[in-house]
């Protein structure tokens, strides 16, 4: 099961989940200066047809099975992210700083009940949280997917130039418990496929 993902399962997951990248990409940039534009300095959502390879990411409580990724600059990668744990986890591509920023947002979402330790409250997530200062802060970042326990989701990302990047789970406490890893940019022709 780890290597073969059923297409129907993925399709179902993509339909249900608000927060898969495609939707946000189409929506373009948000107001509010939180840097959640579709295109980011280190890359942008990619087209599945352009993905040269698939990297499988397996999550447990609270860790990524692999703690390092090797990527080629400019490469488009299809990430298939499977949560084998019992808690909610995130797969987020970013810098140490964007992760730190996103951890604060996720803490707020947790405090407002939009997220729980084990899942996403889809009703709460859709609600207008204007009064809580959470307006426009639904979890729709194009560089991130939230994966509930037992689920598998995909993220297609087109990396830009080599830079300091990490993949991380920003569910409160998880990053600091070590649920993150570095992304190493390899010289062209050396990254595995």
């Amino acid at each position: 099961m780890r290597t073969k993902i059923s297409k129907t399962l993925l399709a179902a997951a993509a339909t249900v989940a608000l927060y898969v990248p495609g939707a946000a990409f189409a929506a373009g940039s948000h107001e509010g200066g939180h840097g959640h534009a579709g295109a980011m300095a280190f890359g942008e959502p990619g087209q599945l047809s352009e993905a040269g390879r698939t990297i499988e990411i397996v999550m447990g409580d609270n860790y990524f099975e692999s703690e390092k990724l090797v990527i080629l600059a400019g490469e488009t990668v299809r990430f298939v992210v499977k949560n084998e744990g019992e808690f909610l986890h995130e797969f987020n591509l970013g810098t140490t700083a964007t992760h730190a920023e996103h951890q604060k947002e996720m803490m707020t979402m947790m405090e407002h009940g939009m997220l729980t330790a084990t899942g996403v409250d889809k009703g709460m997530m859709k609600m207008d949280h204007g009064s809580t200062g959470m307006s426009g802060h639904v979890h729709d970042d194009p560089n991130s997917i939230l994966v509930e326990p037992g689920k598998t989701l995909e993220l297609v990302w087109k990396f830009a130039e080599a830079t300091d990047l990490e993949f991380a789970c920003n569910v409160p406490g998880h990053y600091d418990a070590g649920m993150m890893g570095e992304i190493e940019f390899a010289a062209p022709g050396t990254a595995g496929s």
Binding site: A117, P172, G173, D176, G178
Partner: protein, 592 residues
């Protein structure tokens, strides 16, 4: 076999693992999961207070060695007594047959002078724990050490290195003498008692009637507002080192360092922080918790907290552990190189108990006036001419000059305002303290202070279910006569608490005293009801703050007889103690 009780499943599995282990040892294929450890308890000389003192050590050390076990290992631990009195070792927080629990008079007869006692039990859990003497007051004299049990599986966090950080309190006065002094005069060690002059200040603040009524209440309680801790004159230690000796743990920048904090003090709660680093709490009392990032946490006597820090800079950091009563400081250092050190912050103002801590916090209009009136710092009180010697670390015979020097209180006026305001601003109610409590902690940097409410089990040990029975335990005592009790009865006057195997008992702890009590039940886990439902954390020690009621549940899954007591040593010794008898269940015999 009862599927409701994973512990028993574990026990059976362990048994077969042990058999496999023995078999494989015979064929020399796989190393067996068995280890033999030797501990010797005897007198040893230490110097943490400026003079050489005779302590009681384990293998010549205070604290004793760190015992590193593996989950699933069959343990054989030989304890030799070289003292001229009985001794014992209790494995704090470990789940084991009651005969191996090490409490004289309950689990066994104790270890006689010159004798060697062998403990045998399997390590059926993992995490950070500790061990200590359960005989007399020996723990205060140094008979304690740490236990680290490596897990069989992967942990829900990662780290590059780990250190045990044992916090403790040392007193040059022999503990028997301390207890005798407390019995004679309960405020013997309270250097900062409020007096007639502060009473006149209260009058000017609140009016004569209110102040008088406060005083009457305090008198009735046989307590005083400065009774945050009953004993002063302690030197506070980290891994046996005083602040000047500065225990240092090394790291390489960028590494994750796991710090296993253990409060092995006899009487001292600590507020722990590392200025410049946030700490991610990943374990409490040996059980993993969902990670929570904090700036500071309070560790009750006998608790453990494991935190992960990740210093990225090439600099030293100070580990600061201030006693809750602010009577000094334990200090240690994390540094990239030996000898590096960071600034050591000033000690913070001493807290004062409020009427809320007396259980009067619910009264209307009470809280604010009390906050103002009681927030007066008393730290300076002890610095009056003629009293300075009593404030020095290691002072054994405090000069208890209760006569006030005219004028001293005026010097406090400016500070009073500052503290009162600082206390009010940014104070978030922690449900585990009485509203308006003088003990409610705030982080030194204004950041996040861990609350019991933040503790959520990473992987609950038990299925969540309704308790089958509730037992009320009122925590009681008479401070002036210095005895402590449960439901108004001292241990010597009380019947054992009888539990039935298989029931789930809810203990309702009602703290009617003005001190915090870290309650510890041996042999079985205590599930703290902190509002997190199935993720309520599983602990071995639960602290109950003054004026509060705390609920905790116990799956009664360990037959035999067990100790149940307040872990403040002099409270335990003066009567806040019960025997718990678990009736029914599988026959347990010593693993011999």
């Amino acid at each position: 076999m009862d599927n409701q009780h994973p512990k028993y499943l574990g026990r059976v599995l362990l048994k077969s693992a042990a058999i496999v282990g023995v078999a494989s040892a015979l064929f020399g294929a796989v190393p067996t999961l068995a280890g033999t450890y030797d501990l010797t308890i005897g007198e040893t000389i230490i110097n943490v207070s400026g003079t050489e003192q005779t302590a009681l050590g384990i293998n010549g050390m205070v604290p004793g060695p760190t015992l590193r076990f593996k989950e699933g290992e069959d343990l054989v631990i030989n304890v030799t007594n070289t003292l001229d009195e009985d001794t014992s070792i209790h494995w704090h927080g470990l789940i084991l047959p009651f005969t191996e629990d090490g409490v004289p008079g309950i689990s066994f007869d104790g270890i006689k002078p010159g004798a060697t006692h062998t403990y045998r039990f399997p390590a059926q859990q993992n995490g950070t724990y500790w061990f200590h003497s359960h005989s007399g007051l020996q723990e205060q004299s140094g008979v304690y050490g740490s236990i680290v049990i490596e897990p069989e599986g992967r942990e829900p966090f990662r780290y590059d290195r780990d250190y045990v950080v044992v916090l403790s309190d040392w007193h040059d006065t022999k503990p028997e003498k301390i207890l005798a002094n407390l019995k004679k005069q309960s405020d013997y060690y309270n250097y900062n008692q409020r007096t007639l002059m502060t009473f006149f200040d209260d009058v000017s603040e609140k009016g004569f009637g209110a102040a008088l009524s406060d005083r009457a209440d305090w008198g009735e309680m046989r307590m005083t507002p400065t009774d945050v801790a009953d004993i002063s004159g302690y030197t506070f230690l980290v891994n046996g080192k005083n602040p000047e000796q500065n225990w240092t743990g090394l790291f390489k920048p960028g590494e994750r360092v796991r710090l296993r904090f253990i409060n092995a003090a006899a009487m001292t709660y600590f507020d722990v922080r590392i200025p410049g680093l946030q700490m991610t709490v990943v374990q409490a009392d040996g059980n993993n918790v969902q990670p929570v990032k904090v700036d500071e946490f309070r560790i009750a006597v006998a608790e453990t907290y494991d935190v992960i820090v990740r210093p990225t800079d090439e600099q030293a950091y100070t580990i600061v552990a201030e006693p809750m009563a602010r009577t000094g400081m334990a200090r240690a250092t994390l540094a990239p190189r030996e000898g590096m050190e960071a600034a050591v912050p000033e000690g913070r103002e001493r807290p004062l108990l409020t009427m809320a801590d007396m259980g009067h916090g619910g009264m209307e209009g009470m809280d604010h006036s009390q906050m103002q009136g009681m927030a007066e710092p008393t730290k300076d009180t002890g610095q009056m001419p003629g009293m300075d010697h009593s404030q020095m670390p290691g002072a054994t015979q405090p000069a208890m000059d209760q006569e006030q020097m005219p004028g001293m209180d005026h010097s406090n006026m400016s500070q009073m305002d500052r503290v009162a305001m600082g206390g009010a601003a940014g104070m978030r109610q922690d449900p585990f303290y009485a509203p308006g409590s003088g003990l409610m902690p705030t982080a030194a940097n204004g950041g996040k202070f861990l609350s019991y409410a933040d503790l959520k089990a990473q992987k609950p040990l038990y299925e969540d279910r309704e308790p089958t029975r509730e037992i009320e335990i009122r925590l009681t005592g008479n401070m002036e006569r210095y005895f402590w009790s449960m439901n108004d009865k001292k241990y010597s006057e009380a019947e054992p608490i009888r539990l039935k195997y298989g029931e789930r008992v809810r203990f309702k702890f009602v703290n009617e005293t003005m001190m915090s009590h870290p309650m510890h039940l041996h042999g079985m886990w205590t599930i703290l009801d902190n509002g997190n439902g199935k993720f309520n954390p599983t602990k071995h020690t639960v602290s109950i703050a003054p004026g509060t009621t705390v609920l905790a549940e116990v799956e009664v899954d360990a037959p035999g007889q067990w100790a149940f007591h307040c872990h403040l040593m002099y409270h335990m010794a003066s009567g806040m103690f019960r025997m718990v008898i678990v009736e029914g269940g599988p026959q347990t015999t010593a693993v011999n």
